[in-house]
Structures are given as structure tokens and as C-alpha cells.
């Protein structure tokens, strides 16, 4: 190092005004004056903007003066750069570079800061070490008093942050898996796995919220006792209904089938909505618990109380808000980038070229594919321009044909969506009709068969055979026959129940019916997207748009099937409960419909997860084995799979939607989702690393990230609507849950609000009046206009500055050209002078010779 530096100094001294800082370019840098004289165009390399970036050794020293104001490293670095670039007075800078310690009496803190800034400099380690030693040995002022304490505190804080970062990286989940995926598939796919991890943590956060504010208080706090039902005269009071419900569902033993169905003993756990109390912990309304209103009026008797229903509803609101905030925060970075640019695909080419290669790839095969993908992308980008041109020049006939085709295909898609919705509806109807009488005593038979149902997989195999039998019969027969069939089934069920016995077949049929709609939904989700992909080829959209539109259609498919399901629940639940009943026994409404809904979502989540396992390990894995070991075109056609990001994203987002929808009715659903997402990571990792080969489509991390968040946002919005509706409008069941006996769940919040101090209520009410709304509206509009004007002005300014930059660039070119031609002229002049000089000398010499000759 020192040798190199000495050489440099020598160069500097020799040529005074040229500062050859760039070690890296020393061989090719036309740094010397002689070289410049040979090639005048090289004068451009002497521009200050070119000089200072490479001359980094000096940077640290030259920063002393200007970092003083700001402590923040970022600004310091930036300023340093700008000053370094500005400093065109080479001599001064050079003086600053010489080890002139007298002027650098800086305090310890500054030195410490500078040592930490060394690492951002692009020089070799040896130089950095030297700089560090130099800084450490420099004379420095000792800090006194408060400053010393402050500095020590900063140092400690710095260390703590570093330690914390180390701990975090050690704890980082799936670090090695991510590296492996990254090495084989690049950053776009890793973004998906990061998204998966992010969802897992989101679910975990939701669950922790529920656990700490709803579940733990319920378990820990003592539940106040109520009067038993016998003591109350009215048979339809919440207390009696609850006891009725308890008696029906109690006397359960453990059964494996119950675990996957969420019935039986599971129904009695805190897993579902039904078991949560409507009591307010901490006060004992024993003496007047007969009606809800009086129980609330007695609330102020206890000083400290925990209102579980209120906690339940507010936690629901909180975790929806938390989810929304998390999504928006994650999405906003991407959106901000786009909004700032404002020109859509502003830097698409530069992005592709300079950010195209994933430096993390470490596998030859993936590297080849990456090359190929980049090649395709480059060609695609270039061709898209031509395509656009072509699109403008399409003939009218062709356009007409295309429009007709697109129109027809869109109609077809709608029809397919409608058909799948109807299929789900009918299947759900069948299953309900079959299970309706079953519902009341669905638990008793199971205990007989605990021993036979050894494992879920074994029983799933068994359904397969029944499945085929039944689907053939149900699909061929009409409504009528279905009904009869269902009635028969229920009759058999009843009689069997009377006997206290059920055959295994009946048992499995029951289970099959229970899962029928969910299996159908999952199957549709597998089959229909393939059809959509096939159809979209006829529409001749641009490649990017194809991805978008097929994604959109698939989302609609998934959500429409969910919507059908929800609407079915709705019609089941909506019948008004007559005053003297606990629930509508005749219309098939379950006694505790919230728990029923929770169970449905629980089943749906489980089915969804099992299908992922099944498809990944038992369908796609053999396929990939087939493709790997048998070398034929057919095998490759059948077996080879790409890791289609959009499809896998949908899978995850779908289960997340289920989690959001269901967690009000099954508070443990987020916990289950967390666990399942955890395993999902491994399933998807298997699907990615073992089953698929790297995709030939270029997935970019930024683009795919914003796509994920957009889809998640859509499904979040769609998940919120039914939950909010149910909370605000539908009457909770009387027999169970924290809101039994209220008109709607929201009533609990309203009553809590009414109990607040009058002053606070007045404030809230004021927000609702016109006196507040109209001025607020006006002010907001003004703000909106203000920011719009500012951004407009900024845009204009950017344009002006850009033009100015171009002008400056031209000026620079012009001046450089003039300068180099001037130097050329100078050289020629010098040459001429030299020539002239020589000529004269020769002439003189000749003259002298001549005179000498003459003298002779």
C-alpha cells in the first residue's frame, strides 16, 4: 500500500494540478500531462465530477469541516460527496490531504464517527486499516463533562444495536432455506417466501392479541355464577337456552373425527365462539341476572371489571386494523416509488440491465435459465414497442373479430363462474339437507367409532371410493331424487340413532357429506384456472396483461365460491327467532350458528391445507419424478412444472382470507393459520425446489411484491365486508357466545359507549353533526388541492431542471471541445515555434557558416 501511495504522491508532486486518486484505474487513467498533450480529448477526465469520486483517501480528512453541523451519518456522507465534488481547487484539497495535524484538532466523538464511516469507502482493506490507525493516532480533544457522557451513551447504544442485530440474524427464521431458494430461483421467488413468512407473523400477532385479551382473561378470571334455569320462569331466557345448548353438546368423549370436523368435544372448547361467556368479570349480578338490561345497570357496583363481550368486539376491530396497517405499510413503499416517478415504467430498461442479474444465484443450471429469462425479457421489451405499433395498425376486420372473440370469452368466463357458484350452492344444499337432522345428534354416533377411525388419511382414502359412487348418482339425478335421497338418509340416520348404532359406511357418508362442498370448492379451484389459462390464449393480450387478467379471474373464482358459501350460511341463519324459542328448530338453523360458521371455516381451512399436501406430495411429486427419470417428450409434457408464482400466491392469500373471515367465530383460527402457514412454507419449499424447475418468466422482486400486497388488499377488503355486516346486522344466537341475548353484536359496543362519561359522548356525537362534517369536508378539500398544486409544481420543476441539465451537458461538451481545440492550436503553435526556432537556428548556423566561409 505505502509504495502505491508514495508513487501517487510523487505523481502529484510532479504534476501539481492533477490528482491521481484512482488507484483502480491507474493503469488506464490518462492522468499525466504528457498523455493529455497527446490526446486533448482526455481533458474530460480532469473534470471535478470525475476526479473526486475516485480520490477517496482524502475524503475522510476533508469531511471534518462540513460534517460538524449534522450528526447523522447519512447526511454527512451525502454532504461529503457533494463537497468533494464541488471542491475544484485541487491545491487546497491536496493540502488538506497532507498529514497536517495541526488543523485537525477534533474531539473524540468526531474521530469515532469517522472511524465508523471508513467502511463506506470503496478502498481496499489495507488502506482502511491505515486510515483507521491514522485517525486513532491523531491528536484529539478529550470530551469534557456532559459531552463525554453523551458520547459514552452513544457508544453503548451503538453496541446494543449491533448486538441486537446479531441476535436477530441468528434468530431469523428459515435463513438457510431462503438462501437455497434464492440460489436456485432468484429474488422474485424468494419474495414469495418472505411474503409467506410475513403472513405467518401477521397471524401470530393476531393470535397473540386474541389470546391475551380474550382467551386468557376468560381462563384466568373467575366467571360469575348465574341462577340456574329452573329458578327462572321464562323458558327462552339466555340462561335456559345456554343450559339447553350445553346439555345437548355435553357428554362427549374424545374422537379423532371430531378433531378434523370441529364438532363434539371440540365444540365445547374455547376454540369456537360459543364457549365464550357473556359475563362481565369482576362483578356479581347474581341477584338480578334474570334480564340483560338489569345486569348492565348493576355494572358500577364493582370498581374493577373486565367486560369480555366488549373486549371480544374491540379486539376483532383491532386485529382487522392491525392487518390493514401492516398491509398498507408493506405496500406503501412500492406505491410511493411509483407515485414519485409518475411516469409508470420510468426506468424499466435501466432496471433490467443494472438490476437484472441476481448476484445470489449459485447454481449453473439456474444461471443458464436466468440468462435465458433475461434474454427473453430484453427481447420482449424491444418487441413490445413494435407490438404497440402493430396494434395501431390492425385492420378493422381483424379488430372486429378480436373484439367479438374477447367478448365471447368473457361471457364464457362469466358462465363458468356462475356454473361453479351454482354447483357449490347445490352441493352445499345436498350436504345440509343430509346433515340437518343429523346436526342435533351428530356427536353421539361418533364415539362408537373412535376405534375404527384410526387416522385421517386412512379415512380419506375410504371417502374416495364412496366419492365416486355418490358423485355419479348425485350428478345424474335431479333435485327431486336428491331430496328423496336426503330424506332417506335422514330417516336411516334417525332410526340408526334410535338403535344407538350406525354402520361404518353411514358414518363415512356423513363425513363425506359434511366435507362435500369444501372438496368441490377445492376441486373447482384446481380445474377452472386451467380452463381460464387455455381460454386466455385466444384473446391475444400482451403478456403482462395475460398474467393480470388470468389472476383476476382466478381471484373471482375463489371469492365467488366463498360468497356462495357465505350466502348459504346467511339464509340458514337469517330466519327471525320467535320469542319463545331458543332457536328455530324447524328451519334447520343450528342452535349456535356462530359456532357452526366457525366450524365451517375450520373445516375449510383444514381441507385446503390437506389438498395442498396431497397435490404437492402425491400428484406433483410423482409427476416431477416421472419427468426426471423418463426421457421422452411425453414425460416432459406431463411432468415438468414451473413454479408459477401467481398460483401459489393465490393459495396463500386464499387461506389468509379464510382466516380473516373465520377468526371472529373461531378465535383460535389465527393460531391454526400460523401453524399451517409454518408448514406451508415447507410444502411450498418442496414444491419449489423438488417439483419445479426455474421459471422462464422473469419475476422481479419489486413487481411481485406489490402484486402480492395488492391481491392481499383485495381479499382483505372482501373479507371485511361480511364480517362487518354480520357484526352490525345479524342477531347473535341466544344459547351461546359473548353476545347472547343482544339484538346484534354491535349493541355490546353501543352499550359500552353509552356507559362512558357524558362529556366524552358529547364529543363523539359532535363528530356526527353537520356542524363538524361540513367544515371538515371543506378543510380536507383545501388540503387535497394544496398537495395537488404542490405536486404539480414539483413535476414542472423536475421538467425544468431536466432541461437545464441537458443544456449544461451541452455547454460542458462545447467548452471541452473548445478547450481541446485550443490546446491543439497551442500545440501546433508550439510546434511551429519550435520549427521556426529550429529553422532560425539552422539559418543562423548556415549564416554563421556562410560568414565563416566568407571570412575564410
Amino acid at each position: 500500500m505505502s509504495g502505491g501511495k508514495d508513487k501517487k504522491n510523487r505523481v502529484n508532486k510532479a504534476h501539481g494540478w492533477e490528482e491521481a486518486g484512482g488507484e483502480f484505474y491507474q493503469e488506464s487513467y490518462p492522468a499525466d500531462w504528457e498523455g493529455l498533450q497527446r490526446d486533448p480529448a482526455a481533458i474530460a477526465t480532469l473534470l471535478p465530477s470525475k476526479q473526486n469520486r475516485a480520490a477517496t483517501t482524502r475524503r475522510a480528512r476533508s469531511t471534518h469541516q462540513d460534517t460538524k453541523g449534522s450528526r447523522r451519518q447519512q447526511t454527512a456522507t451525502r454532504r461529503r460527496n457533494s463537497t468533494a465534488r464541488r471542491g475544484s481547487q485541487y491545491h487546497e484539497v491536496q493540502v488538506a490531504m497532507l498529514p497536517d495535524l495541526s488543523q485537525d484538532l477534533t474531539d473524540e466523538e468526531r474521530i469515532w464517527e469517522e472511524i465508523h464511516e471508513i467502511k463506506t469507502m470503496p478502498v481496499s482493506m489495507a488502506q482502511k486499516k491505515e486510515m483507521k490507525a491514522q485517525l486513532q493516532n491523531a491528536t484529539k480533544l478529550r470530551l469534557q463533562g456532559l459531552d463525554q457522557i453523551k458520547w459514552q451513551r452513544r457508544k453503548v447504544w451503538h453496541q446494543v444495536v449491533a448486538k441486537w442485530a446479531e441476535v436477530l440474524t441468528k434468530m431469523e427464521l428459515w435463513r438457510n432455506s431462503l438462501k437455497e431458494i434464492e440460489g436456485n430461483f432468484g429474488t422474485g421467488v424468494v419474495a414469495y417466501f418472505l411474503f409467506l413468512r410475513w403472513l405467518m407473523f401477521l397471524n401470530l400477532a393476531i393470535f397473540v392479541l386474541i389470546l391475551s385479551f380474550v382467551v386468557i382473561p376468560h381462563v384466568v378470571l373467575q366467571e360469575p355464577m348465574d341462577k340456574p334455569c329452573d329458578a327462572i320462569s321464562e323458558s327462552n331466557s339466555t340462561q335456559c337456552c345456554t343450559e339447553d345448548y350445553f346439555n345437548r353438546t355435553s357428554s362427549e368423549k374424545f374422537s379423532i373425527l371430531d378433531i378434523i370436523q370441529g364438532t363434539g368435544f371440540m365444540e365445547k372448547t374455547l376454540m369456537f365462539y360459543g364457549m365464550y361467556t357473556n359475563k362481565i368479570f369482576g362483578h356479581y349480578p347474581y341477584e338480578n341476572a334474570s334480564s340483560v338490561s338489569s345486569s348492565h345497570s348493576s355494572l358500577y357496583r364493582a370498581e374493577l371489571y373486565y367486560d369480555l363481550p366488549l373486549a371480544y368486539i374491540s379486539i376483532t376491530a383491532v386485529y382487522f386494523l392491525v392487518s390493514l396497517a401492516a398491509i398498507v405499510k408493506a405496500a406503501s413503499r412500492e406505491f410511493k416509488d411509483r407515485l414519485v416517478d409518475g411516469e409508470g415504467q420510468f426506468y424499466q430498461y435501466c432496471n433490467l440491465i443494472f438490476g437484472g442479474w441476481d448476484f445470489c444465484i449459485h447454481n449453473e443450471k439456474s444461471a443458464d435459465i436466468k440468462h435465458k429469462a433475461l434474454y427473453n425479457e430484453i427481447r420482449g421489451l424491444l418487441h413490445s414497442k413494435r407490438l404497440e405499433y402493430e396494434r395501431h395498425n390492425r385492420s378493422r376486420d381483424f379488430m372486429f373479430k378480436l373484439i367479438v372473440i374477447r367478448f365471447l370469452i368473457n361471457i364464457l368466463v362469466l358462465i363458468i363462474l356462475a356454473i361453479s357458484a351454482v354447483v357449490i350452492y347445490i352441493l352445499f344444499e345436498i350436504s345440509l339437507r343430509h346433515l340437518e337432522p343429523n346436526y342435533k345428534h351428530s356427536h353421539s354416533p361418533y364415539k362408537l367409532f373412535q376405534s375404527t377411525s384410526t387416522g385421517t388419511l386412512a379415512s380419506f382414502n375410504a371417502y374416495g371410493t364412496i366419492n365416486s359412487n355418490l358423485t355419479s348418482s348425485t350428478s345424474s339425478s335431479g333435485e327431486q331424487i336428491d331430496e328423496e335421497l336426503a330424506n332417506n338418509d335422514s330417516l336411516i340416520l334417525r332410526s340408526a340413532q334410535n338403535d344407538g348404532m350406525l354402520t361404518l359406511e353411514m358414518q363415512l357418508q356423513n363425513l363425506f357429506h359434511e366435507f362435500l362442498p369444501y372438496i368441490a370448492i377445492v376441486c373447482l379451484n384446481v380445474v377452472v384456472p386451467i380452463v381460464f389459462n387455455y381460454l386466455v390464449e385466444f384473446e391475444q393480450y400482451s403478456p403482462m396483461f395475460v398474467i393480470k387478467i388470468s389472476l383476476l379471474r382466478t381471484i373471482f373464482l375463489r371469492l365467488s365460491s366463498l360468497a356462495v358459501l357465505l350466502s348459504r350460511f346467511y339464509f340458514l341463519i337469517i330466519p327471525e327467532v320467535v320469542d319463545d324459542e331458543c332457536y328455530r328448530k324447524n328451519s334447520g338453523t343450528p342452535q349456535c350458528w356462530e359456532t357452526f360458521v366457525g366450524q365451517q371455516f375450520y373445516k375449510l381451512v383444514i381441507t385446503d391445507f390437506v389438498t395442498h399436501i396431497f397435490v404437492t406430495f402425491f400428484v406433483n411429486f410423482p409427476r416431477s419424478l416421472f419427468a426426471k427419470h423418463i426421457r421422452s417428450k411425453f414425460a416432459r409434457f406431463v411432468g415438468e412444472q414451473e413454479f408459477e408464482l401467481s398460483k401459489h400466491v393465490l393459495d396463500v392469500v386464499y387461506s389468509q382470507t379464510l382466516c380473516w373471515l373465520g377468526s371472529f367465530y373461531a378465535p383460535f383460527l389465527p393460531a391454526i393459520s400460523t401453524v399451517l402457514t409454518f408448514f406451508m412454507f415447507y410444502i411450498k419449499k418442496f414444491a419449489c425446489l423438488v417439483n419445479s424447475k426455474p421459471s422462464s418468466i422473469l419475476y422481479r422482486a419489486s413487481r411481485s411484491n406489490s402484486l402480492f400486497m395488492l391481491i392481499l388488499l383485495i381479499s382483505f377488503a372482501i373479507a371485511v365486508i361480511p364480517v362487518v355486516y354480520a357484526v352490525a346486522e345479524i342477531m347473535p344466537s341466544r344459547s351461546c357466545g359473548p353476545f347472547r341475548g343482544l339484538r346484534s353484536v354491535w349493541d355490546a359496543a353501543i352499550t359500552a359507549f353509552m356507559k362512558m362519561p357524558q362529556f366524552f359522548q358529547n364529543i363523539i356525537f359532535f363528530f356526527g353533526t353537520a356542524g363538524f362534517a361540513i367544515p371538515a369536508f371543506v378543510v380536507l378539500t383545501l388540503f387535497l388541492y394544496y398537495y395537488y398544486a404542490v405536486s404539480d409544481a414539483n413535476k414542472h420543476m423536475v421538467q425544468v431542471l431536466k432541461n437545464q441539465l441537458v443544456l449544461e451537458g451541452h455547454d460542458k461538451q462545447f467548452l471541452l471541445n473548445r478547450l481541446s481545440s485550443f490546446i491543439k492550436q497551442q500545440q501546433e503553435y508550439q510546434k511551429k515555434m519550435v520549427q521556426y526556432e529550429r529553422d532560425r537556428e539552422q539559418k543562423n548556423a548556415r549564416d554563421r557558416n556562410r560568414t565563416a566561409a566568407d571570412e575564410e
Binding site: 470525475k50 481496499s124 483507521k132 429474488t187 426506468y347 440491465i353 433475461l374
Partner: protein, 185 residues
């Protein structure tokens, strides 16, 4: 691990920790990786200079189309041969903790093939050719078109080449760069 630990004194480790974006543990881990490239040589001298071919055995660099450029940029002797310190510098720049500006600086050098401190047309052409790989051929016309598009996007002062500030501006705007210009240790 104990063996590697004994190769560094506490002071050296402290130096390295101060001068890179790594913690001491990561530095030792990096040394382990470095040692794997040439076990006996590095075992003998912990800061041994390995030839560029040896360094290019590192998995991420092996398949990287800019592997040799990376070695040259980080090599303190400018010929692509790297000592451990150079290797550590390299890994530090490619780590997650490294700020974008520093990464941009090095990326600029990597892409600046002819070393004239500007990304000129020839540099861009080489970058594109290396990106696309030897098996796929882009026609000269397409490359010309592409370079034109790049310059139209980013060459603010219209001098037919990208200077460092222009490049830094692109990198600042590029949301992908931070993700892609990264090697996990």
C-alpha cells in the same frame, strides 16, 4: 471453528468489525468460506493471496457473468487476485447491511469495463452481452436499440454515456437493485 479463531487476534477482528458491515462471528464465517476455496494455502497463511481462478470457485461468483470484474474491482493488486481482506471487503459490500450508495459505487466500477469512469456505449454493450449469456444472441440492431433506450432514460446531460451521478440516480430509483445486488454469506 476453534482453529479459525486462533488465526485472528482480537485486535484484528475488532479492526475488521469496524471496517466492514460484519460482526465478528460473520467475519469468522467468511474466513471459513474463504478457507474452503484453498484449504492448505489459507491454513498456512490466513491472509493468503488466491488467484482469480480460485476466487471464482466461490459458488455465487462462479456463475456470475461479472465474476471476473468483481474480482478485479475488489482486488487490491488490481489483477483479480484477492487476499482474505479483499474477499472480506467484497462480501461486506454484498451484505444486507451495506447502504445503497456504497453498493452503487462498486456496481459502477464493476460495469465500467474500460475504466474511463463513464458507462459508455461499449461498457453498456458488454454488460448486455454478459447478461444475456454466451448461448443467446441478441442482434446488433437490438443492442443498439436497447442502449439507445437506456441512454434516453438515464443520460440526463445527454453526453452519450452514464456518469456516476446519473448511475447513482438510477440505482436510487431502482427498487430491485438492493435485492439483486446481494450475496448472502
Amino acid at each position: 471453528m476453534g482453529q479459525t479463531k486462533s488465526q485472528f487476534s482480537e485486535e484484528e477482528l475488532q479492526d475488521y468489525e469496524d471496517l466492514t458491515f460484519f460482526t465478528k462471528k460473520e467475519i469468522l464465517f467468511a474466513h471459513k468460506k474463504f478457507k474452503q476455496l484453498a484449504p492448505e494455502k489459507v491454513g498456512h497463511n490466513k491472509n493468503a493471496k488466491l488467484s482469480m481462478n480460485k476466487i471464482l470457485q466461490y459458488p455465487e461468483l462462479r456463475v456470475n457473468p461479472f465474476g471476473d470484474r468483481i474480482c478485479k474491482v475488489f482486488s487490491s493488486s488490481n489483477d483479480g487476485d484477492c487476499t482474505f481482506e479483499d474477499f472480506l471487503d467484497m462480501m461486506s459490500v454484498f451484505s444486507d447491511a451495506c447502504p445503497k450508495a456504497v453498493k452503487a459505487e462498486h456496481a459502477f466500477r464493476i460495469f465500467d469495463f474500460d475504466g474511463d469512469d463513464m458507462l459508455g456505449i461499449n461498457d453498456l454493450k458488454q454488460v448486455i452481452e454478459r447478461l444475456v449469456g454466451p448461448d443467446n444472441c441478441v442482434s446488433d440492431n437490438d443492442i443498439k436499440q436497447l442502449i439507445q433506450n437506456i441512454l434516453a432514460e438515464a443520460d440526463l446531460d445527454d453526453d452519450g454515456a452514464l456518469s456516476f451521478p446519473e448511475f447513482e440516480h438510477i440505482i436510487d430509483k431502482s427498487s430491485d437493485f438492493n435485492n439483486s445486488f446481494r450475496i448472502r454469506l
